[in-house]
Symmetry: C2
Subunit: 366 residues, 2 copies
Amino acid sequence: MNYERPQFFHLMQYAEAAEHDVVDMVSGNPDWEPPAALRDGLREYADADPDEFQYPPSEGLLELREEIAARRNVAPSRIVVTNGTGEANYLAMAAALDRDAGSEVLLADPVYPYYPGKTELLGGKVTLVPTERDGSIDPARFREAASEETGLILVNTPNNPTGAVYSRETMRELAALAEEMDATLVSDEVYDHFDFTGEFESALTLDSDRAIVTSGYSKSMAITGFRVGYAILPERLVGGAKTRHMLVNVATSRPPQVAVLRALRETETEYYESVRSLLRERVDTFTDALDAAGAEYSRPDGGFYVLARFDGFPGTMANAERLVDEAGVAGMPGDTFGSARDEWLRFALVTPRVEEAAARLADYFD
Amino acid sequence: MNYERPQFFHLMQYAEAAEHDVVDMVSGNPDWEPPAALRDGLREYADADPDEFQYPPSEGLLELREEIAARRNVAPSRIVVTNGTGEANYLAMAAALDRDAGSEVLLADPVYPYYPGKTELLGGKVTLVPTERDGSIDPARFREAASEETGLILVNTPNNPTGAVYSRETMRELAALAEEMDATLVSDEVYDHFDFTGEFESALTLDSDRAIVTSGYSKSMAITGFRVGYAILPERLVGGAKTRHMLVNVATSRPPQVAVLRALRETETEYYESVRSLLRERVDTFTDALDAAGAEYSRPDGGFYVLARFDGFPGTMANAERLVDEAGVAGMPGDTFGSARDEWLRFALVTPRVEEAAARLADYFD
């Protein structure tokens, strides 16, 4: 396995190295304030007794697990607090593949590039299943792609990069397919707080013993650097996940767990609603400009990414660099997300300069 | 892989559940203050801009890597900042085994139980090599145990549980053996700040392109819960380690990295020396009592553990529980560290109540 600098690092550095002004719409780092209680949690922790600086339980602070359990309506014993949603996905995928019930992994195309990377690390084999043009999943396509070798079906909803929110019926059919195939369904719901439809439902509500749900606080609390996530597993898979977590990481860092716990307890729904409002405005601003530029685009039902297709300007790294050079806007090439959106570019709306970027694009493609 | 609650958790809970007073000498959690600058670092970070709450570079904050590199006299490019020394060991062992140059892992017996656990997770096979009665390693024994299948030799110095500090000559011979066998040497040096001989030398000084060194701040800064460690790898292995780190954890949590960086920069050598003095006193107090109890024991050259053997009282879990019940002292059974010290019990000197525990033991075995 060789170290390949992920494409988004390449592009961020390319944009930074430019001598002119570039609006960065590549990274998925929120640009807004975290909850105030999170900062309070850090301040208070700085004065804690030395014994509170020592190992937390490997599966996470009990109070944090109980807080998550109450919100998600599951037993605390099913929860592992992880080093971000990234580790949660790694543990979930390993739990599915460690069953030796098949090494084929079905992933929706376009695909978040870490999923195939993790699949390879864990010795699995990727099969990409195309999504529909509007980003939705047709479960029949997953059924066609499934085989005896299928051990894992992994989806991300709300979705990066399409902005799709999969319906409960879609998720129910994927869980049923997983059951038929003696496989596991993993639903990565890290964008669960950014649902603009009001209809998003977690795969937890399926109450399926085939389903693992992963999420975290990187996006909802604007703290991608804190690395606090969690996996909720069926009882029969949670033991193996805890063992792997312990052997790889021993435990998740304690200061960020303490800060997140306090923020969970003290943050009012207004905080989350205000971020959703902000993003809704940015979506409107940006898609208005895309209309003006004559682009096709995905209007996100959730998350904070917009996919846009400009005629004669496919989503290659060369074109993404050209856009940096000539328009002063950095977006991700769609061809880094599998093959289904290689005509598209992805723009992350996590910058206060969305309006400016939109104007530049409208101008450039006019 | 099933989740087995590590034995030390079992014993800590057994001691906590006792209705009488028990001195906990099981856990390896320092009981002293972290450096003052570490707390300052957390306080300052609590007020940082939101962009400082976002993803650090996957391999660690550049300033932290540069600080470590300067102290360890290596290029920053060889360093991966990890979720504690635990993840550093996982990455180091994976780097060795991913080479497909053999799946046999040579470990010194007595052995820190996570090493065989990680070996199994990574698909390797453990061969335990006995150490000498004084805890030292005879490289000839490793040579006898080595085979074409040997891919990794892993040692811990200063050692948990024996307190041995391996000589530079021993480490040089192990590195030479690794080279002959086309294998990799991993030296876990997490207790590097607790050398009482003044003669400990890191395996980095061997300047071998076969050697990986792991360490961290859990013990030296008394912050086992912060999870900040690092691996220093030869250039040819560092790429694979970075890839695995990224795919498993994305990055190490940022708040503890910031706090550790500040503590590294501002903490005077007096801090570390005062902790060593404290531990030296505890070793004297404790071993005096063991003399009074007629026990055989290891006087540690480094680290903070003492192995003790009481006639007719082998190091089984049953006897460890009996010691909790009847003497009010909790120590780890030696048989949890492989087979070489199954007559012994391990006592961690990370409690202010060492004197009291020593008196209880002297009294009980009198």
